[in-house]
Structure formats: C-alpha cells, structure tokens
Amino acid sequence: MGVVVKKVDLTWLDRTYLWPIAKGMFITLKHFLKQTLTPTQKRLTVQYPDMKRPVLDGYRGLHELKRNEDNSVKCVACFMCAEACPARCITIEAEEFGDLNMLQGLAEKRPASFQIDMLRCIFCGMCQEACPKDAIWLRKNYELSCQSRAEMQLDKFNLMNTYTEKDGSERVVPEPVLKTSNNQPG
C-alpha cells in the first residue's frame, strides 16, 4: 500500500528561497552564539578525560574484595560467587588457617588465591548478591583499560587493593563532580 505524500504548496515568499534562508541563518546564528557564550562546564558535551560525569548509585564497576577491621580478607572461600557467576570468570582456591594449630581442630577457611578474569566479567553483580559475607563489592571505577591481556587477570592482592591508593588510603574513583583542567579551551 502506497503512502500518499501531501505536496506542500510553497507561498511566493518561500519560493524566493531568500526568506526561508534568512530564517535558517538566524537559527544557526542563535545556536552559534548560544554555544559560544556557554562556558565549557555548562555545555552538553562532557569532554571525557578532563571532565567526568557523576557515576550513578548502583553502578557496577570494578570489583573490590573487602577487608575486616584487622585488614584480613573478609572472603571465606565459600565459592558462592564462583557458582553464581554466569560468565564463570571467578577462580578460587581455598586454604585453611587459624590461630589455633591443626591438632586443636579449629581452622577457618580463606581464599589462597582469588582470581577474576576481567576479560570475561560482564559486571552483572551476581557475585555481590550471592556473597554471604558481603566480601565482594562492585564499585564505581569504570576505567579498566590495560596494555595486555595478562594485566586483566586480577588476583587476590589486586582485588583487595583496587580502591586503595599507594599510601593505603581509600581511593575515591571517580570524582562525582564535573572537574576541568585549568586550561580548558572552549
């Protein structure tokens, strides 16, 4: 079935082309002036490396293995996250440890190694939901590029320190405000 296209009857003013063109020129001039006079911070474009958008609550970014008060890892190597993971990217090896010795029979479990293959991870957050100890969190770091595939295999040490600065303080990533470098061009 064909569509009947209604032919627009141009007025004599439109037929000169000049008046519509003048209107169009006025519109583009308005946009030009508006965009020129708007400071960079207020423009729609967020110039990414210099400026960052605030990350929303509930964003699922890079994982962190949480610690106890005494800085030991919270994870008890129960394998729930590895089971829940639809991408099968978590590999855990468990080990026993305890303040008491083996003869006394009181041992606890912890991961000897905890590996996440970030190339497989789909950031679904299932591991976080499955974890009975609240030991694995998906937080807000989304800048995860690397130079090689090997770097994307994060182990226990990496995962415990994904949100830690070198001096041990908490790394806040990314800034939830629009920040610009001081020499930001228009």
Binding site: T28, Q35, T40, L44, N183, P185
Partner: protein
C-alpha cells in the same frame, strides 16, 4: 627621488615594494585559507552545538580553541602516503591540484587591500597589480573561470564514474552561474564608469555599492557560492551522492591543495565582494583612512564574508541538480539582465 635606492641605474623601490606585496599577499591568502579550514570546523561545531577541534596543543598546555589543529592537518597531509591509483591518467592527475590551486591564488592579485600612499616621492599601491593596467576587474573574472579546469581535470584524470559525474556537475554549475555573476559585475562597471578596482573603490567613498545596487549584490552573492563550489551549490563534492566527487582518488598533499584551493577561492570571492559592493578599504565616515586603518577595514570586511560562507554552508542543505539549473538559468539570468538594463536606463536618464 633619492639616489640610495638604485642598482645599476635602476630604481629599486618599486621592485622591492612589488616583492613585499607578492610575499604578503601570497602568505596572507595562504594562511587565511588555512585558518579558514579551522574556522570551518570550529564554526560547524558551534553551530551544531558541539565542541569542535580543541585537543591539539603546543608548548605545554596551550590550546587556543584548537587552532593548532590546522598545523596538525597540514603535517598529516604532507606526510601521508601519496597514493596514485593505477587506473588514473598520470600526467593530468599530477597537474590537476595545481590547475585548481594556481588560478585561485592568482585572482587575488588585482584586489587593493589598502589605500595607496606616498612614501619619499613614490606612490605605493597596496595591490599586487598596480592600477591603470587595462584589465581591472575583468582579470579576476577571467581567472575565476579557469577554476573550472582544475575540477574538470581532476575528475577526468581520476578515471572514475563518480568523479566524472562530479566534474560534469561542477562544470555545469560554474558555467551556468558565471553569466549571472558577470552580469551583476557589469552593472557595477556601468554605475562607476570604470572597471579598475581602485576607481571602483574610490567611487564608493560616499555610499557603498551595496546600497545603490542591492539586487546586483544579491545576484553576485548567490553566484559567488556557485562559483566557489560551496554549499548550497557544492555539486562537485556532494558527499552523500557521489562519494567525494573529484576529490575521491586524491590523497596526501594533492588532496590538501585541492581542499585549500576551495578556501583560497572563498577568500578571493570575498575580496571581490568587498571591493565591488562594500567599498573595499573604505572606512565609513573617514574620508582618508591611511594605509593601516584602510587595511584593517578591508581585512575586517573580508573576514566577515569568509565567515558568511561558512555560516551559510552549515545552514543550508544542497540544492537538487534540476533546482540548481532552474535557479541559474530561469531566475538569476533574467534577473541579471533586468538589473543591468534597469541601471543602464537609470544612467541614461541621468538618475544614477
């Protein structure tokens, strides 16, 4: 005349001044054309509510609204592999960028970019070709028509259907609008009674020609877009229809020259517009502005018209080919004749 400026009995001052003028005009037009490529990108971005080029920086963090992108563009074009496809006509393929670029540069030679001035007994003119040369404004009109050959040669040498189509369209476009273009200029010649740019500018010391001949200016203005192959008449380059037209097979600095020639054309046609209709270097309400002020006035007007070209480009879509032809032959040509006859009649009656 002093004796200190002679060499083997020849007077050196005119020669030196000529060299200075040639260098200044060449360097000025070239760099203005280069800056216009940046202005085009930035202007387009701002009109479309984007940011545009701003990442290139030199000496630490100096960015200056991305103006260094044009240096980056130039470097890239020069160092890029200059690919010559096997199926092209080699000789023409190499000549074509020059054929496009040289006429574009030549046109500016006649334009006075400032008021002539006296200096130690010499009258120094601020145009490469001195007044009273007998060709006047006919020269840039003739040179402007040569630009057709650049496009035609480039498209023919490319040996490619889309390029050929583009060459045909571009040629038809430029030839059709050439006539109305000239008719508009002839009306100015009639009005002034001379076709030397210096005399045309001198005649506009009171009222600019655009006030006397608004219709003629409009005609000239529309045809200027067709002559420079700019939107809404960029039929040689219709990206959506014929790839990049005559530019398709070119790469490296050949492409750069073809691109640059478009911007040089823009500068030349803007200069023509300023000279013919906007009083050239005349400053409103200043009878005798002197070389510096007159040059600034000329440059300001020139830049405005260059910006107008960019502004129009990012406002209008391309015309359809049949629309182009009907506007050119059925509207602009009769209007051009009517305009010419009207002013001829006015002059005959002694009114204008």
């Amino acid at each position: 005349m002093s004796d200190s400026f002679t060499f083997l009995g020849m007077d050196l001052i005119p020669t030196v001044w000529m060299l200075v003028k040639i260098l200044a005009v060449f360097a000025g037009v070239m760099s203005l054309a280069a800056v216009l490529t940046w202005a085009e990108r930035k202007g387009a971005a701002l009109i479309q509510d984007r940011i545009g080029p701003n990442r290139a920086k030199i000496i630490g963090n100096i960015r200056l609204f991305g103006i260094f992108h044009l240096m980056g563009d130039g470097l890239k074009l020069i160092f890029k592999e200059d690919l010559v496809p096997r199926h092209v006509t080699q000789s023409l393929f190499w000549i074509a960028p020059l054929l496009a670029f040289v006429p574009a540069m030549m046109g500016f030679a006649i334009i006075p970019f400032g008021q002539s001035f006296e200096w130690s007994g010499y009258t120094l003119h601020m145009s490469v070709i001195d007044p009273g040369n007998g060709m006047g404004m006919l020269y840039p009109m003739a040179i402007a028509s040569l630009a057709v050959y650049g496009i035609l040669t480039a498209s023919w040498a490319s040996n490619n259907k889309w390029s050929m189509l583009s060459g045909m369209r571009g040629t038809a476009n430029m030839i059709s609008y050439e006539i109305s273009f000239s008719l508009a200029v002839i009306a100015v010649f009639l009005q002034v009674g001379a076709y030397d740019p210096h005399e045309i500018i001198a005649a506009q010391s009171g009222i600019w020609n655009v006030v006397r001949q608004p219709l003629g200016f409009l005609l000239f203005f529309i045809c200027a877009f067709a002559e420079t192959n700019r939107l809404p008449f960029d039929f040689a380059e219709g990206e959506s229809e014929i790839v990049a037209g005559f530019l398709t097979e070119f790469s490296g600095m050949k492409l750069g020259l073809l691109w640059l020639s478009e911007y040089v054309h823009m500068v030349t046609v803007s200069a023509l517009m300023v000279t013919l209709y906007f009083g050239g270097w005349q400053v409103p309400f200043v009878a005798d502005p002197g070389p510096l002020l007159s040059f600034i006035a000329f440059a300001a007007k020139l830049l405005f018209f260059c910006w107008l070209f960019i502004w129009v480009r990012w406002t209008l879509p391309r015309f359809r080919y049949d629309q182009l032809m009907s506007i050119g032959w059925k509207v602009l040509l009769p209007v051009g004749f009517a305009n010419l006859l009207f002013y001829a009649w006015l002059i005959h009656q002694g009114i204008a």
